[in-house]
């Protein structure tokens, strides 16, 4: 029995994975199984978050629901360049979920609602690792609510537009290593929101071939309600690190342009291809604006990020094995927005190559069970910190990352 599991060992040794930035992947079990190639895929209403133009294809009298949970485990290892010490991140599971509903309104219109958690990460390093003064723990959670309207332009084309309301929560914790007290640390946490737009078009160019184009605008997440707290600071430095002060920051979540085609090669086999360009370059730096408090003046702490735009290529296939069981498989390649000179342990990413698999099983006439799993491998990344650039806090070393994503959900139509 054990021998049969040996094939799993390569999953854990060797390559690490990083994702295209801190997006958590396709927001739906069936599209996760397809590797995210869903801009022209209409077999799951989870495509609503990728391409609102698909909504027109679900304008019949059925009300469709699809909801489920997503869990992502992203784990990195680090080897210090000068100290040769290896540190592994603590295991964290970034939870997420999705909820989609669509309903037709008359012959031409349909409405839909998408609730997703498209961006997020949870980085957790051991409390005493060598970069503890750079970061110990950092967590971002986002919730996107997208009410959508779809229009069936004619038999072959449909378009859709959705408004995105985003909510976000961010926390970061790092040690104040200049003091001996291991409990000396600062913690930042804030919540806030932003808005965006998602537009898309879907067209059928033949019996078997369809295409989709969509553009989701960037969302400026304004985390205005924030608190920065400090603990363990010696009294003579209390003015430098006040116990509690208000803080605000913002994250520019990127825009995404997706283009995809779906080709039904045989009645049982569907192939999808997707290409996406994510505009990460709007995330140039992360600035914490701290209010004045006690003896400390108002300050602005800026860390350069200089993200660059990233491409992703995705291929998916769905095979209807039996009338009740459909299996999906996918491959994807996601570029990373993080440049070599700005690798920071708060969030590790690399160009990643991933594979995914999923299945959808029709339990009853209107109820289907969906499950999928994806694994991503990324390249080794080496960060170089320059002591004389003293305003930049960083550690030198090599990072490897692996990401596992699993999703489980149900799809209803009634």
């Amino acid at each position: 029995m054990r021998l049969r599991l040996l094939f799993l060992i390569p999953l854990c040794s060797g390559l690490t994975a990083s994702a295209g930035g801190f997006d958590t992947g396709p927001q739906g079990a069936r599209i996760l199984g397809l590797g995210g190639a869903s801009a022209a895929y209409i077999n799951s209403i989870a495509g609503l978050s990728t391409n609102p133009g698909l909504l027109g294809q679900w304008g019949d009298s059925l009300t469709r629901l699809s909801f489920g949970g997503i869990g992502q485990i992203r784990r990195s290892s680090f080897v210090g360049q000068d100290t040769y010490q290896r540190t592994d991140q603590d295991l964290t599971i970034q939870p997420g979920g999705y909820f989609y509903a669509t309903r037709g309104l008359g012959k031409r219109f349909s409405v839909g609602l998408a609730l997703t958690t498209p961006y997020g990460y949870h980085t957790k390093w051991p409390g005493t690792w060598e970069g503890r003064s750079v970061v110990q723990e950092s967590k971002l959670e986002t919730y996107f609510v997208q009410p959508t309207v779809g229009i069936k332009l004619n038999d072959n084309f449909s378009a859709g537009v959705g408004f995105v309301y985003a909510f976000g929560k961010y926390t970061q914790r790092r040690a104040l290593g200049q003091y001996d007290d291991p409990g000396a640390q600062v913690q930042y946490s804030g919540t806030g929101g932003g808005v965006g737009l998602n537009v898309g078009l879907f067209g059928r160019t033949g019996d078997n071939l369809a295409f989709g184009i969509s553009y989701r605008s960037g969302v400026k997440l304004n985390l205005k309600n924030g608190t920065a707290t400090a603990a363990g600071v010696p009294s003579h430095d209390a003015a430098l690190y006040p116990a509690s002060t208000r803080f605000s920051t913002e994250f520019n979540l990127p825009s995404t342009l997706s283009v995809g085609i779906a080709d039904r090669i045989t009645p049982k086999l569907l192939l999808t291809f997707d290409f996406a360009l994510t505009g990460w370059s709007t995330l140039d730096s992360v600035a914490f604006a701290l209010d004045a408090s006690g003896g400390a003046p108002a300050r602005r702490l800026t860390t350069a990020r200089r993200y660059e735009d990233a491409l992703a290529f995705r291929i998916g296939a769905e095979y209807q094995a039996t009338p009740k069981l459909a299996v999906q498989g996918g491959l994807h390649y996601d570029e990373t927005p993080i440049r070599d000179e700005y690798i920071n342990p708060e969030f590790i990413d690399a160009n990643r190559l991933g594979a995914s698999a999923g299945l959808s099983y029709q339990l009853a006439a209107h109820l289907a069970l969906e499950a999928a799993y994806a694994i991503d491998y990324g390249q080794l990344r080496t960060a170089r910190a320059f002591p004389q650039a003293y305003r930049v806090a960083n550690v030198s070393g090599a990072y490897r990352t692996v990401t596992h994503t699993a999703a489980l959900g149900v799809a209803l139509a009634f």
Partner: protein, 478 residues
């Protein structure tokens, strides 16, 4: 609906598979294996205050454990299993006594007080010493006296005393005599061995050395603002070089390899740096809210005052008194004038190392000692040239230097602030986490950074792969 029947075996397999996936082991990475290109099985450290682990005005067991030779030896142990490093450790406790932080003055200068030493067995007080009362503390003998340790760093040992007979014999422990209690505790009682003889004996079994000595020759002169100790003339520097060569001849005998470190610039030490003329003037003007200049006694005409220049330095030990009102006789009447901030009450020469008559001597002595290259006849070779003479490997390829320049690789960088693993280190006492409260020796973290500078030099010179110390895991004070 077909029901899948799971056998016990495949059920276990599924659970194990799920568990394996869920534990999601971190991706494997191999840390490099430390390698060393030179024999470091028996490492000998020769030097003065820095090498011994002297910190905050005293020597304690903790300070010795964080001395840079001990930190270096721990890192070398990764590459050479079983290599020990013996030090003349004091018993746990306050050792010879040291300075500890009390608080900060309004101007931001640290105030320290002396903690009594538990290893002190008697004191010899010399009230008439130049520069004020001098207290020599005799220490309990080291448990391993009789066997010379591998760390032969002796605090306060100038190169001019390496051949002084009885330097370590407490019969000579009288006021004003050439006697060193830190050397005395390494030797058996009533021994007249000289330091050079001790180095020769210890070097016989050594395979690798570090040499970082010479600063303690200049410290009496610097600490007294140029009043005490021999003035560091060219002749003085020449004698330093000749004495250094005597030690280095012994250390490099038989082709023994090691690292020779040059002396840092004296102005990078907070003892001087905190009181740099122009910056001090600005800081005091901000503190007192006026525009008064700082005045010092003219070096060539003590009864006159001159304004401080950006090249004059006020000793850090005198900074707390600058600006305080002191009585001064002016035209027959006694007035209270701010010390140093009025031309009628200039800073005394003992509180200042001025650029024209004192600091220039110190700077040229250090430069002479470090870099003198033998092109001028009858001028002894400086450290750089000696390293070339002994055919030590090149450390700095761009300049072809065979010595470790601690200025370039550490002290200068720290003076301009550096960030190591997200923590900033600067030359400011206490907050900078580098220099200790006596304004010139290093904290444990400072010693860690110094050990890393030596490790970088060893890695370059001897094509090795020694891991560096994680400086942020060391204590900030002992």
């Amino acid at each position: 609906m077909t029901v899948f029947r799971l056998t016990l075996g495949s059920r276990t397999g599924l659970v194990a598979a799920a568990a394996l996936l869920l534990t999601a082991c971190a991706p494997a990475q191999d840390a490099p294996t430390p390698t060393i290109g030179v024999d470091v099985s028996h490492y000998l450290a020769v030097g003065d205050s820095y090498t011994a682990g002297f910190s905050a005005g005293g020597l304690t067991r903790t300070g010795q454990e964080y001395s840079f030779p001990n930190l270096l030896a721990q890192q070398l142990r990764g590459a050479t299993a079983g290599a020990a490093f013996t030090q003349p450790l004091l018993d746990a406790g306050t050792g010879s006594g040291y300075l500890e932080l009390v608080d900060f003055t309004a101007a931001g200068f640290p105030r320290a007080r002396r903690v009594a030493g538990t290893a002190v067995r008697s004191t010899v007080v010399n009230p008439g010493a130049c520069g004020g009362t001098d207290t020599v503390r005799l220490l309990l003998r080291s448990a391993t006296a009789g066997n010379l340790p591998q760390n032969l760093g002796v605090p306060g040992l100038p190169l001019s005393q390496i051949e002084t007979l009885g330097l370590g014999n407490d019969a000579r422990a009288t006021a004003g005599a050439g006697f060193n209690p830190y050397f005395e505790r390494l030797l058996p009682a009533a021994t007249n061995t000289t330091y050079l003889q001790a180095v020769a004996t210890a070097a016989a079994s050594a395979t690798f050395f570090t040499f970082f000595q010479g600063l303690d020759d200049l410290m009496p002169y610097v600490r007294s603002g140029g009043q005490c100790g021999a003035a560091p003339t060219a002749a003085f520097a020449n004698q330093m070089k000749l004495n250094a060569k005597k030690i280095l001849d012994v250390l490099t005998a038989g082709g023994r390899q090691g690292i020779i470190a040059k002396l840092p610039a004296i102005t990078s030490l907070p003892l001087l740096r905190l009181g740099k003329g122009d910056k001090l003037e600005t800081r005091l003007q901000a503190q007192f809210g006026d525009t008064a200049n700082v005045y010092i006694e003219s070096p060539f005409n003590p009864s006159q005052a001159q304004r401080i220049s950006d090249k004059d330095y006020v000793l850090a030990t005198a900074l707390a008194h600058v600006g305080q009102l002191t009585p001064v006789v002016v035209n027959g009447t006694t007035r209270m004038l701010p010390y140093g901030r009025d031309s009628r009450n200039p800073l005394r020469d003992a509180d200042v190392l001025d650029a024209q008559s004192e600091l220039n001597l110190v700077n040229s002595a250090i430069s002479n000692y470090n870099n003198s290259d033998g092109t001028v006849a009858n001028v002894p070779l400086g450290l750089n040239a000696l390293a070339q003479l002994y055919k030590l490997p090149v450390i700095d390829a761009s300049q072809g230097f065979r010595t470790l320049d601690v200025d370039v690789s550490l002290f200068n960088q720290v003076a301009n602030v550096i960030s190591v693993g997200g923590v900033q280190y600067s030359a400011e006492p206490v907050r900078g986490n580098f220099f200790s409260l006596d304004y010139y020796t290093l904290t444990p973290r400072g010693n860690g950074l110094l050990a890393n500078a030596f490790i970088t030099a060893i890695n370059k010179a001897y094509r090795s792969n020694i891991p560096a110390v994680d400086v942020n895991s060391l204590p900030t004070t002992k």
